[in-house]
Amino acid sequence: MIAPLATLLTHAAGPDRTGTGQPGTGQAPRVCADPAAARQSADLVAVAAGDRQAFARLFAHFAPRVKAYMLKLGMPAQRAEDLAQDTLLSVWRKASLYDPAKAEAATWVFTIARNLRIDALRRERHPEVSDDELLEHEDDRPPADELLDGDRRARRLRGALAALTPEQAEVVRLSFFADLAHPAIAERLDLPLGTVKSRLRLAMAKIRKALGDDDR
C-alpha cells in the first residue's frame, strides 16, 4: 500500500531536511523511513516563507491526488481540476497556518480539499474548531508527533490502512469517497446500522494503535 512516491524524489531530500520543524525529542532511530512525509512537511514550511520551488513540488504531488479525490466523489472533470487548483492555491495562502508538529502534509492538504469540496458541492459550511480554541481545558498531552515522528507515523498509518479487513476498508472508503455518513452506508450495504458503526470503530482502533495512541 505504499503510494507511488518515486516520481517525486528527483530532488532528493536528505535526512538533514527531514527533521525540519519536528520537535525531535526521544525518538526511536529511523529505520528505512519513508522520507516523503517529512519532505512534504519541510516543503510546506518553505512555502510559508514564499518558496515557489517547494510549492511546485507539492503541486506535482498533491494536485493530481486531490483531483482524483474530487473525481471519486463524483465531480465532473473540469470541476475536479478547478478544485485541485483551488486546493493547492489555498495551500499556498494558508501555509503559515500549517504546524508540522501536529499533522502530516497529506493530512493537512486533505482537510483543505475536504472543506473546499463541501463549500463547492453543498454550499454548506463545515463548522470547524480551530486549534487554538479548547474551551475551559488545557490539553496537556504532547502533540502526537512528539510520541512518534512524522516518517514512522506515515509508514505505520499506511500499514494500518493495509491491515484493515475488506469490510472495514469498504466502510472507510464509502465514508471518505462516497460522501456517505454511517446511516447512509448501512442503507447502501443493506446492513444494520450497528454493524457499520462497529466496523468504523474497529477501523479507527487500528488507526489509533498504529499512531501509538492506544492507551485511551
Binding site: 494536485a63 491526488r65 503559515s96 501536529k102 474551551l135 475551559e136 465514508s175 455518513a181 446511516p183 447512509a184
Partner: protein, 246 residues
Amino acid sequence: MTARQLFLPNHHPSDAMLVAYGAGSLGEGLSLAVAVHLSHCPDCRATLAEVEALGGALLEDLPPAPLESLSLAATLDRLDREEAPGNPCKALHVEPQWKRHSGTPKTTPAANAQGPTPVPVLPRPLRAYIPALDGLSWQRLAPGVRRVELLPRTASGGAAQLLRIAPGTALPHHGHGGLELTVVLSGHFADELGRYGPGDLAEVDGETSHQPIADSHRDCICLIATDAPLRFTGLMGRLMQPFIGL
C-alpha cells in the same frame, strides 16, 4: 466569576460520527453540533486528528489523476495576481497560528455583570451563526420550551436550532428517522442514557427514542441538530411537532 468547567465532557460522539465529520460526509447542522463538542473535548479532537490522518493516507494512496497540461502554470498565474502589490489577499501571510496566543476572552464583561446566572462562553463554531447566547430573541414553542433557529432545514432534511428548556420541563418522547445530536451549551438535561452538562453530546440514531428532561435549577440551553425530521410520539409530541419543526 467565570464559571469554569472543572470536568471534561462525559458523553461523546461515536467513532462513526467522528469519521463522518472528519470525512466531510456529515451535513452542516450535525457538523456544527460535533464541532461544539470538539471545542470542549481534547479526547475527541485527538480522535478527529486520527480520522484526518486516515483521510491524508487515503489521499496519498489514490492513483493520481492526470492534470490539464497547463495546470501548474495556471495556478502560478493566479498566485502571481494575488501576490501583486496592493492586492489585499497578500496580507494572508500571517504569523503561524500555532505560534500565536489564543487571546480569546473567556467571558465578556457584560456576562460578568449579569449576576448569579453565569453566561456560558459561546464556542467559536457557533459564532458564525449567532453573536452570543444572551440577547437572542427566543421564540416560545410550548410551556417551558423556547427556540432559536440556527440553520433552516436543508435540502437533505437536516436542521439545527437552539432550545431553551425551563427546569423540570420534559420534551415529548420522540423517535428518529435519522441522526440527532444534542449538545449542551449551559445547564443540564437527563434522558434514559444519563445526565448531560455543558459540552456533553447525546447521539441518537434511527433505532432509538428518548425523552430529555431539563433537570437542574436553571434553564438548559442546548443545540439540537438533525439530518431528518423527528417523529414525535404521544399527544404532546403531535401537538408540538408543527411548531418545533425538528
